[in-house]
Point group: C2
Chain length 696, copies 2
């Protein structure tokens, strides 16, 4: 797929120029200079020849077929030129020209026109408003970037052209190589998801690295992301996530930036590893690109200096990496290989006077150890330190063992030659221990993700007719909000237990219902016109006998009438009084990018004051629902503190999954919450006491 980009037989540059200050020159000369082997056609009506190549006035004049065209001409000519590309049968077009969606509504209109033309001819577009693309496999540099990346196994894409140039420059400085290098621009046609999907089976790409400001299609992103991350890691920056940042996004690319919480959930659910800076992006990507996968979360640290060893240990604990307990044989081998003052416990400190040989013996011992999944090899330059030879020892061992080794040669001039040797052996180097540990932790998260079974969405039997009937009724009434009895009907139809509840039209009827239900009961004024019943004193809890029921009936009806004389009042609702150990909340909100986003948290103050809640994009699996429960901070309360019995978390999981199914099956639900869902002890189930839904 997308071979017109990664393996075109011929490329036309529309707007090729012999003026070195023009982008049309830059693109053409990049294509030629960096060794592209296909045919190249400069297109420019005002020239016969550019850079030694015959030039054509229009793409239609090119005698042979053209696979890929790069457009670098003023905005007003782009549409006509694209039309000609279509007529010519061009398969892919890179539009470098800017001035479209990113400049406002007029540009947006012109961009829509480009999309229409491309669709009509079945052409795929990159851009507009981009730097171009670079492919080190095809040796094609169809961009105006000032340089060519080294070949490598990282496929990169960026929604910011300036970031492309910065990343390219950094990669050249640090000797990091790329397979594919894509500037996405405005993503009029091809977007990040298309490339993720394409690179899934790309044998030249081991890692996908992305800088994103927004997502084109949340649902497809989830599906493709989930699938592709099982084949290769995706490391991504999503910027513009904070509220201040979002403002900047809007003024920059016009992309609607989704809320941080939704992205957090989406990245979590798709196994995409989030990077917080370009530095992290590089640090993580080179670890994946150059080293074998990490098979466990237990690592070893080998160091020639105590201080950095401690710092690495601190960082491991913060990152959730464990220091492996070394096996008996390893400890024996280390004891033999190292001087008595050395520390043979992990972190293994080979001491400052360690020669390469001693360093190597220690490193090999821990690599052999079955408890060790990966190693961080630290070298601080000291008097006796031969950084180059230590690097060679590390490099050689890295070729012998199928475990990741990340280097941490600290310092600059003194260790530079050693770092170069590490690079030759494809052992990534990090200048401080914390960065090596962060990269190892990213490898751990990816290994854990590979263990996650494929997404399996359970299907529950819903009483779909009832739900449909309630929704129709509500709509027929011209309402959008559903609460009370109607909402309980919906819950019951989804299989979520609700308290027994009936409407009584008189005090006598109320007493009869209450006696049947058993005291105590809850009473609420029953009126379709009064939404916030507790605000007017229209809800009473814990009513214990017949007299109280009668009194309350009269009181609530009186209050309702006084509050809203014209309200239709049906009487009072008599409801079973549910008491339980815990109250939780399950909510849903429609995210503009990802659709239904389901929230879970403990009720009341935990949600309001502590914001102790978690989110998942629906639909989600049982495993993900279980994760939601355990990842809130207050989870220990559900597990039971001070000898209390644990809560029925299985019942919460069940409710979460049913809500997930409900909001997917009925996309007209734009908002809902069950608050509270009262949760009993393990095995005793849960009851949804109150629910509110909003339809679109």
């Amino acid at each position: 797929m997308l071979e017109m980009l990664s393996d075109p037989q011929s490329v036309a540059v529309i707007g090729a120029s012999r003026d070195e200050r023009k982008l049309g020159y830059g693109v053409l000369s990049n294509i030629i200079r960096y060794g592209y082997q296909g045919r190249v056609y400069p297109i420019n009506p005002k020239a016969d020849e550019i850079l030694g190549l015959r030039c054509y006035p229009s793409i239609l004049d090119v005698p042979d077929p053209v696979d890929l065209a790069v457009i670098v001409i003023p905005r007003k000519y782009v549409a006509a030129s694209l039309e000609e590309c279509g007529q010519k049968g061009v398969k892919g077009v890179i539009i470098i020209t800017a001035g479209f969606r990113e400049v406002g509504s007029e540009g947006m209109k012109m961009e829509r026109k480009l999309i229409a033309i491309a669709q009509r001819y079945g052409m795929r577009l990159v851009g507009p408003n981009c730097l171009g693309i670079i492919d080190t496999v095809a040796k094609l540099n169809a961009s105006f970037a000032a340089g060519m990346p080294y070949p490598g196994s990282i496929a990169f894409m960026s929604q910011s052209g300036a970031l492309c140039t910065a990343v390219l420059d950094m990669s050249i400085g640090e000797g990091v190589g790329f397979s594919r290098f894509i500037s996405l621009g405005n993503k009029a046609d091809l977007n990040e998801i298309d490339f993720i999907e394409t690179w899934r089976d790309d044998p030249h790409s081991r890692v996908i690295m992305a800088y994103l400001e927004g997502i084109a299609d949340g649902t497809r992103f989830m599906r493709v992301g989930r699938e592709v991350t099982k084949h290769k890691p995706i490391i991504a920056i999503k910027s513009g996530t904070t509220s201040a940042g979002s403002r900047a996004v809007s003024s920059h690319t016009g992309t609607l930036a989704g809320s941080e919480r939704a992205y957090e959930a989406a990245f979590n659910q798709t196994g995409i590893i989030r990077a917080n800076s370009i530095q992290d992006l590089f640090d993580y990507s080179i670890a994946f690109a150059r080293q074998p996968p990490l098979s466990s979360n237990r690592i070893a640290i080998v160091t020639n200096a105590g201080g950095p060893g401690i710092m690495a240990t601190d960082a491991c604990e913060r990152a959730g990496l464990q220091l492996a307990s070394l096996e008996r044989e390893t400890l024996d081998a280390l004891k033999e290989a190292l001087p008595p003052e050395a520390s043979i416990l992990n972190p293994v400190d080979v001491l400052g006077d360690a020669l390469p040989n001693r360093y190597g013996l220690a490193l090999e011992s821990v690599l052999k150890d079955a408890n060790v999944g990966g190693v961080i090899a630290i070298t601080a330059p000291q008097v006796m330190t031969n950084a180059v030879e230590i690097a060679r020892v590390i490099g050689e061992l890295s070729t012998k063992y199928d475990k990741p080794i990340l280097g941490c040669f600290m310092g600059e001039p003194t260790v530079a030659a050693g770092v170069k040797v590490l690079n030759e052996y494809r052992v990534p180097n990090y200048p401080v221990p914390e960065r090596a540990v962060a990269a190892m932790a990213a490898m751990m998260r990816y290994s854990q993700w590979l263990e996650v079974p494929p997404l399996e969405i359970e299907e529950f039997d819903f009483d779909v007719e009832t739900i449909r009937r309630v929704f129709d009724q509500v709509r027929a009434d011209g309402r959008l909000t559903i609460g009370d009895a109607e909402a309980r009907e919906v819950m019951r139809a989804c299989g979520i237990p609700v308290p027994a509840s009936v409407v009584a039209s008189s005090p006598d009827e109320a007493v009869a219902h209450a006696e049947k239900m058993g005291y105590p009961v809850v009473m609420k004024v029953a009126s379709p016109d009064i939404l916030h019943k507790s605000d007017i004193g229209g809800v009473k809890l814990n009513i214990g006998d017949a007299t109280a029921v009668r009194d309350t009936f009269d009181l609530l009806v009186y209050r309702a009438t006084r509050h809203m004389p014209d309200a239709q009042i049906w009487g009072c609702q008599i409801q079973q009084m549910v008491k339980g150990r815990h109250e939780v909340i399950i909510g849903m909100n429609c995210d503009p990018q990802f659709g239904p986003l389901v929230m879970f948290g403990l009720g009341g103050i935990y949600v309001e004051a502590l914001r102790d809640v978690t989110f998942r994009v629906a639909p989600f699996s049982r495993r993900e629902a279980e994760e939601m429960i355990t990842e809130i901070r207050a989870y220990s309360l559900l597990r039971g503190v001070r000898g209390e019995p644990p809560a029925d978390t299985a019942a919460i999981v069940d409710a979460l999954l049913r809500v997930s199914q409900l909001v997917i099956e009925f996309p007209e639900i734009v908002e809902m919450d069950i608050n509270p869902l009262i949760v009993h002890e393990a095995g005793q189930g849960s009851v949804g006491v109150d629910m509110r839904l909003v339809l679109s």
Copy 2:
């Protein structure tokens, strides 16, 4: 102070060698090579001359006075040599030789001997087990480090010698300079606090930068730290803070690493800025060393690329920095200076084709803006970007305005020359926006610290005699734990309100007391022998009338007798039943490094399940006590949610300050908690219901 280190007139190297592989050669040649101007005396009985200098068999043979001696001889000769230094009248000695405290008890014994000798002669020691010291002001490199740092205004010390060499190497690579550079080693005599104190008035040092694994004397550290940070910033790594890390510290230097919580509190209270890695340490230090202070938390971002601008904005929000709202005149100036597609709102995007002139106009506009405290100047290399000239423009403006400017030139080869120009202008550069923002945030925290008034400890009138009497009584009984009535007596003596409470020896007496107090009451079995009364069902709450009091009296006494037949039973305690909106806990624990560490949190599950607590080292000020209350996550509950009235936080502050005074005045208290302190609505006070103290 410590002029013998920073400005010695003469230096002897005991163990000077002409064998290039020996440290004694390295030290001597470093002293000579890097331009030390004083007299240098190699000491070695086996040589007449080394490196062109006359050599003496013993320091006693040197004809002139010696200010500073460096000892690099085998461990067994060190003590005798130090003794000779004393006889010679040497003022300071650097002991590079290792094999002391860090290798166990025998080494510890030898180290103690060195301390005794030094004290006898009034000599100050650096080390043992260190790399030496370097002073760029005196041009003295009395170390075996492989290089000399650039001169600069950062004073650095490290408890790890290997880290010294790594930092030195990095600093040379990045062009960062130092005034003083100290390897602390085992800190037998001079420790981090001595150097902090010394550098307070050092005109050559603008910033103090430290790598620490432990603190010599917590109380002095607090006092000196608090004071010195008002004169210059201190940036420090404290490693070995996590539990795994602490293990590594113990095996490394034998320093007892204090608990993470205590260090967090101590750094917070002294205004020391914590760095989490060597990278942060450098990043923050150069900002302080090279730029003027940041006067507000509102900054501006100027960028030639949208993506990095968004990333910087995201990072600002995470770090608590605000993007300044630009003044009308600034916006007008920007509108005039920039093309229409540019973004004139902060972040100011001058666009990818910006020439140095446009960049400069935008930068100067925001620098002039009174709302802007500091600027982050981002440059991503793009086709038209002239990094060198943009750097020059930034540099020139940095000399004109007294606001910090941090550069962020992204990339490597393309921007390297520009970064060099920034360095010449002393504008720090960070390769990614997040690091520039983190450095700016450190500057913000420091400016905020400078606003904090000097520590003022309030003094309350305690009934010291009562406290003393209770403690004496407890000790006389051979007990260490104080609870119940005795503890309430202590609380009352400290001025912390307690509920009315009396011991009744009979049911009749109990009823009489309860009637006087008013129902409901709390009853507890009164026995000095039963500590955990509620465990045996010995506590009853909410007792509402005389019959219940009589029944409860008999029940509790029966249970106590059954539980512990030999216990002395005084009867029952009758206590006022205190009900309040909130229960908080105030606790104290003795930290091995910092002494009394006071804890605050909401009671019950907030402490147990959510660990939502905060700490301060006692004594602390009213401001610090107020901070404790606002910094727990559940603070919003105290402030009042859902229209509830706020809690009486002033009463909590009062209780915290009284506890602070109590544990300082009575250092024999090693542990205590008031749990719960029941807090009423604002203005209504608080009551300490239960208290427990443990004496040493």
